[in-house]
């Protein structure tokens, strides 16, 4: 891959980046509320987003720039196994359809902004609220950092090296998120998603014809895997359970994250969410096709320093430079939307479940918005420092753990929608076992999220997150059954 500056590509890139920057600042006047100095407005866009805005926002926020870079890179490296992102992002939607409208309604009826608010309202426990909030923040931080990894890959392909371009892009993002709140990524998501759709459709329609058709793409990938002796077009027999549990565990975790929940809470009705569960799979189709770019990398015979370069290198070698610039802009802007929503989600958690709960319970609506805005700035600066100062692998490992961590908040957040049986101490104990047990298993497996369990002769490799969740639920049930309710229902 060449990494010298191509002026045409750079000019196209700068044009689109400038366009979304303007949009980001205009966003504070888009669907203008009476005041932005309220966390419902700044942090949830006034809970007013209809079907289309929600579709673009959640799509732009869930299918991140890192996905665009990392999924094809994984498929390029290991083959079929990397494809688990596809079943994952299919089976997530029936869950969204069934669960999220209930959660939305609970939040809307009581004015909840975060998962921590929902849990506090349900169980009346500050400890459980703080646990859920802290888990949300620490699971999100490395995720934001990874958006920077996606952006770095695009900038590098443009010939922009070093940390300065990255820092500039991120500071611009931080400033307009500060002023416009969730309206900024919602508006930018329109541009970003349309660009990504154009890029991926062009890629899957045109690249195979340059590389001798899909049959040849698959055949070349197969040949490359056999030559290097690892990777495969199909799963090995010992990968079945890992593939299925990774897909299921990731699907259960996906909408527990602060950024996806923020998108859900910002919508204007349960019906909007259900419609989106029908419409959002369009992005999944895109993701599945995008994953195939990994195989196209083999068919094009790319020589890569790092697998993360496979998508940028493909565009650079097969498309004219103006279109390559367009594609890189799409990826870089694709990092801005999720990074903005993630920092807003984390800021909402800090404000509602820490600042308001412990520092200043009398905080005004205006004060809440102010604290959230400043926190969103700090969160982004923190993510930038992590990427600049620490090895990328650190963020990758943490993000992987983040998926396991956030999954442990599912019982506290979701079970209460269906039953009043569980009480806070039991859920806390379950979380404790799932969180620390899961972390230990991942550490023990040398930072791999997979764990081998044996039943007699048979050995299964299973996603650690799902194993930790099973332990979490089991402990919560046992403790809840054994420990008698001291006071009859703490809920008011």
């Amino acid at each position: 891959m060449t990494t010298s500056i191509d002026m045409t590509a750079l000019a196209v890139f700068i044009f689109f980046f400038a366009l979304v920057t303007v949009l980001g600042f205009v966003a504070s006047r888009w669907r203008k509320p009476k005041t932005l100095a309220h966390i419902d407005e700044w942090g949830l866009g006034g809970r007013s987003f209809g079907t289309w805005i929600t579709w673009f926002l959640v799509g732009g926020d869930f299918y991140t720039a890192y996905t665009v870079i990392a999924v094809p890179a994984l498929v390029y490296t290991v083959g079929a196994y990397g494809f688990f992102a596809l079943p994952y992002t299919i089976i997530v939607y029936p869950l969204v359809f069934l669960v999220m409208p209930l959660l939305w309604k609970r939040a809307k009826d009581h004015g909840y902004v975060t998962a921590g608010d929902v849990v506090h309202g349900q169980y009346g426990s500050r400890a459980l609220e703080l646990t859920v909030a802290v888990t949300g923040v620490i699971a999100t931080m490395p995720y934001i950092a990874l958006q920077l990894v996606g952006m770095t890959a695009a900038l590098k392909a443009l010939g922009l090296h070093g940390e300065i371009p990255l820092a500039i892009a991120f500071i611009v993002l931080a400033v307009y998120t500060y002023s416009a709140g969730l309206r900024a990524p919602a508006l930018i998501a329109f541009v970003k998603d349309i660009m990504i759709y154009i890029v991926v459709i062009a890629a899957v329609a045109l690249i195979p014809s340059k590389l001798g058709g899909y049959a040849n793409v698959f055949a070349s990938a197969d040949a490359a895997f056999q030559a290097k002796g690892s990777g495969n077009l199909l799963l090995g027999g010992n990968q079945y359970v890992a593939y299925a549990t990774l897909a299921l565990g990731s699907a259960l975790a996906a909408f527990m994250y602060p950024h996806t929940l923020t998108g859900i809470f910002a919508s204007n009705s349960g019906d909007t969410i259900r419609k989106n569960a029908v419409l959002l799979p369009a992005y999944t189709l895109l993701l599945g096709l995008l994953a195939l770019l990994g195989y196209m990398g083999h068919a094009a015979g790319l020589k890569l320093e790092s697998a993360n370069d496979v998508v940028p290198a493909l565009f650079q070698s097969l498309f004219p430079s103006w279109f390559a610039g367009f594609a890189f802009a799409a990826i870089a802007i694709g990092a801005l939307v999720p990074a903005a929503v993630m920092s807003i989600g984390a800021a909402n958690l800090f404000t509602r479940n820490f600042w308001k709960a412990y520092v200043n319970p009398q905080v005004t609506d205006e004060g809440e918005a102010k604290v959230a805005k400043i926190t969103s700035l700090l969160v982004k600066v923190g993510a930038l420092l992590v990427i600049v100062l620490l090895p990328t692998q650190f963020a990758l490992d943490l993000q992987l753990l983040g998926g396991i961590w956030i999954l442990q908040t599912l019982p506290a957040l979701v079970f209460g929608l269906y039953t009043n049986w569980f009480r806070a101490p039991a859920l806390l104990a379950g979380w404790f076992v799932g969180f620390f047990g899961g972390t230990y298993l991942v550490w023990d497996a040398n930072w791999k999220p997979l764990h081998v369990i044996g039943f007699g002769e048979n050995q299964f490799t299973i996603y650690t997150g799902l194993l930790a969740l099973a332990a979490n639920i089991a402990v919560a049930c046992i403790i809840n059954a054994l420990v008698p309710a001291r006071t009859a229902i703490a809920r008011a």
């Binding site: 079943p87 199909l234 079945y240």
Partner: protein, 69 residues
């Protein structure tokens, strides 16, 4: 606009949503190359086909639930 179905039917229709889980989590069923479609091995086009199929099933369930929230 009242397309409201009677209660037991609504409950039954929801079970359609279990199908993607069965279809996609039972991996040995689709972990093979044949039959190839448009150059795609079965493993790939089968999973891609579940995307529109799941959206369609969800849409059928969507039509059967109340829309007043």
């Amino acid at each position: 606009m009242s397309r409201q179905l009677s209660k037991p039917w609504v409950k039954a229709i929801r079970w359609l949503l279990i199908l993607p889980y069965i279809g996609l989590l039972w991996v040995p069923f689709y972990n093979r190359v044949e039959p190839v479609l448009f150059g795609f091995p079965f493993f790939y086009w089968y999973q891609l086909a579940w995307v529109p199929l799941t959206a369609f099933l969800t849409w059928i369930v969507y039509r059967s639930v109340r829309h007043d929230d």
